[in-house]
């Protein structure tokens, strides 16, 4: 902080004068975020408002010779709150938020192409009486579409400073900084604008006519594109094509990239194993740490591709159209079209899906969608499903023209989608018992070509937060699991005493695993999973998959490799119960596999998802609810699946 920054009237002689606080308000799509990014240079901190699931973005900026705190308020069309999360925003402006004074000054961002509607919001802001500066964006687009606006006249009519900024091009940001530096001298309106709707309309009309405003013509390209993309027949076909392309990109394009990452970590782990003398340390470094981090990094190409697609579709304006097309379907679950976008992303990974719930204006919808998102079949389930379906269904089996394996896989995706919609419906019903029902409304922005910069920022940001939040969680779990599987240590004498040849690595690792703390744990939880047909080895797999689902494949692979290093898959099929009433009987029977499949379809086995729900809801309540209900549901549904399969199989 510079010492020149200590001369504020409000400072009252305090030695440690806090930074002046600015707030950025405006409607969604007005270009608020790109202005925030341009001002802060991306040094923003995300957090949460107390008690509600509204993300809070605060950054610092430099203007003139001092620094300011700037807060990006959630986009809104009105300062007349009709929901608890809108109330939070108004409380921030009015200084009613716990222990926080109102911001020192406001920047209100309006889109020049929708100025007529935006002036109602501007009127509400100006009635607050805080020093305010109007930031007008998209004047370039307005001019292209034959619109016109006299900014000095607008400034005179409103009685507050007006600055033109083209956020995506960074034009006008310096003017805005200059204006911010003078905030204590900003003029205020001679009389606050009226609140009565008719008087406010008359005020807005008069201000616009004084500023010689001519509304831009309708965007021709948007009209033509919409005529196709929202057409009852063509629109539906394009929508389905976009969805197919979406999955193709996320799964097909990402697969080789994921292969490279996997190969790299395999190689790295091999290097460590070869060069680290101590086998125990080599295992910890190679399997646990490198393997654990590798297990997360494998998903980075997919996540980044997914975010690239989402931010492209969002930036172009197609997401609003997809939401528009799907709203009726989503309304069956009590949700709205925008929730579709979140659930769609969850097909790849629940984390971007949960982050995408930020676009939902209603907190209840956001929570219902977050509770449903982990049920969508994410890519981490894919390797587990491939393994289990391979064990369950003969690759040659056909049901009609379709391969039976493919149909079962499709069934698992369908199960995920249907149960997600059902869960959303239940949580929405529970939520709707309190508070008012919110009306549905969504702006259809004109199609715009998103700037490469804003897309890259969105992709980079998401990848960063994914890595930061998940690497720690998964790495810690993998290391702990590895320790559990490899402790206690067994001396050579100890091994010999139990008839294990210390020279035979496979035999040693099988013995160590069978007598590890993990095995104890597997046996300990046996009463819980016995009704599902799981033995202690599956239990370890399920427990290890608790941090990340795909770990299950690795764990079972390790167990199987321990039994038959040459043909682990054969070993898996040949596995029998080692103890208990079923000892000697085959382990992977159809009912057990069905139960496992269904267990994985429902259980919240992803610490990263738990972490992101905690971050987005700002507390432990909702992640714990999600974890509890999904785990209980997984057990019950797995039991049902086992019973039904057993009946069918006879």
């Amino acid at each position: 902080m510079k010492d020149a920054g200590c001369h504020t009237e409000a400072g009252g002689g305090a030695v440690d004068t806090p930074l002046p606080r600015l707030a950025l308000a405006g409607s969604p799509n007005a270009g608020k975020t790109s202005i925030f990014n341009a001002l802060t240079g991306l040094h923003a901190k995300t957090g949460n408002y107390p008690g509600v699931t509204v993300s809070r973005f605060v950054g610092t900026i430099q203007a003139g010779d001092r620094r300011y705190l700037i807060e990006d308020l959630p986009g809104t069309y009105s300062l007349d709150p009709i929901s608890p999360d809108e109330q939070i925003m108004v409380d921030v402006l009015d200084g009613h938020l716990d222990g926080e004074a109102p911001p020192d000054a406001l920047l209100v961002v309006v889109d020049a192409t929708t100025l007529r509607r935006s002036l109602r919001f501007v009127a509400q802001v100006l009635r607050r009486g805080l020093p305010t500066c109007l930031v007008v964006t998209f004047t370039d687009e307005m001019t292209v579409r034959q619109g016109q606006l006299d900014l000095p006249a607008l400034q005179q009519a409103l009685g507050v400073p007006v600055v033109r900024v083209l956020g995506n091009r960074g034009q006008g940001i310096d003017d805005l900084r200059e204006q911010i530096a003078q905030w204590p001298t900003w003029p205020t309106p001679a009389l606050p604008p009226p609140d009565d709707p008719a008087e406010a309309d008359a005020w807005a009309e008069s201000v616009l006519s004084f500023a010689r405003y001519r509304a831009p013509e309708r965007h021709r390209i948007t009209q033509r594109v919409d005529a196709v993309l929202l057409h009852p027949l063509w629109g539906t076909i394009v929508f389905l094509a976009v969805m197919v392309a979406f999955f193709q990109t996320v799964f097909t394009l990402a697969a080789p990239l994921q292969g490279y990452v996997e190969t790299f970590f395999g190689w790295l782990s091999g290097v460590v194993t070869t060069h680290v003398g101590n086998p125990w340390l080599a295992g910890l470094l190679g399997d646990a740490i490198i393997g654990g981090i590798g297990a997360v990094l494998v998903f980075v190409p997919q996540i980044m591709l997914l975010f690239l697609l989402i931010s492209l579709l969002e930036g172009v304006g197609y997401m609003s159209r997809a939401a528009f097309l799907m709203d009726r379907v989503m309304s069956r679950a009590g949700l709205e079209g925008r929730a579709f976008v979140a659930l769609l992303s969850s097909f790849a990974c629940a984390i971007p899906g949960i982050m995408a719930t930020r676009t939902l204006p209603s907190a209840k919808d956001r929570l219902a969608t977050m509770m449903a998102a982990p049920l969508m079949t994410c890519s981490a389930r894919l390797p587990v499903y491939v393994l289990l379906i391979g064990l369950l269904v003969d690759p040659a089996a056909q049901w009609g023209p379709f391969g039976a394996q493919g149909l079962v896989m499709f069934g698992m995706y369908l199960l995920g989608a249907v149960s997600a919609m059902t869960a959303a419906w239940v949580f929405k019903k529970l939520g709707d018992r309190t508070g008012p029902l919110l009306p549905f409304y969504m702006e259809m922005p004109p199609y715009r070509i998103p700037s490469a910069r804003s897309v890259l920022i969105a992709v980079g940001d998401s990848a960063k937060s994914f890595l930061r939040k998940c690497t720690t969680i998964i790495a810690v779990t993998t290391v702990s699991l590895w320790l559990l599987l490899n402790l206690p240590l067994h001396s050579t004498a100890d091994l010999r005493a139990h008839g294990v040849d210390p020279g035979n690595d496979t035999a040693v690792s099988a013995y160590v695993a069978d007598h590890s703390y993990a095995a104890d744990l597997g046996h300990l939880v046996a009463p819980v999973f016995d009704p599902l047909g799981f033995d202690w080895r599956i239990n370890i797999g399920v427990l290890s998959a608790q941090s990340a689902r795909e770990t299950f494949v690795a764990t079972l692979g390790q167990v199987a490799a321990a039994e038959n290093p040459d043909e682990p898959s054969k070993a898996l099929k040949a596995m029998t119960y080692t103890d208990g009433p079923h000892a000697g009987l085959p382990l992977f029977t159809a009912p057990t596999i069905a139960a496992l499949l269904v267990y994985f379809a429902f259980a919240l086995q992803c610490m990263a998802t738990v972490g992101i729900i905690r971050r987005e809801t700002g507390g432990w309540k909702w992640p714990l609810i999600a974890f509890g209900y999904l785990t209980a549901l997984a057990w019950i549904m797995a039991y049902v699946a086992r019973t039904i399969t057993a009946l069918l199989a006879g």
Binding site: A200, F324, L325, S331, P439, F440, M442
Partner: protein, 88 residues
């Protein structure tokens, strides 16, 4: 909930208009929930404002309306709270 102003043409509900039609907003229906009425007002559905029905979703709901120079989509349930006159 604001009183419906006296009007010359026949009045109807916005939700009843087919795509492509234009009308002038008269006000909001008395039965509209207060929070919905306030929000519709803030979104630009005020008395005297011209409104145009742009298009309907393939499943007939929601519907895109053009009001105050921008496109906004509403479900029919919300559009039913908006009273219009002089539909063409």
């Amino acid at each position: 909930m604001r009183a419906v102003e006296a009007s010359t043409g026949s009045t109807g509900r916005l939700s009843g208009l087919p795509p492509g039609s234009r009308a002038t907003i008269v006000g909001l229906a008395d039965g509209a929930p207060p929070s919905t009425a306030r929000r519709l007002t803030d979104l630009g559905f005020t008395a005297g404002t011209p409104v145009q029905v742009v298009r309907r979703a393939p499943l007939r709901d929601p519907v895109v309306y053009r009001v105050k120079d921008y496109d906004l989509c509403l479900r029919r349930a919300q559009a039913a709270h908006v009273l219009v006159r002089d539909a063409q």
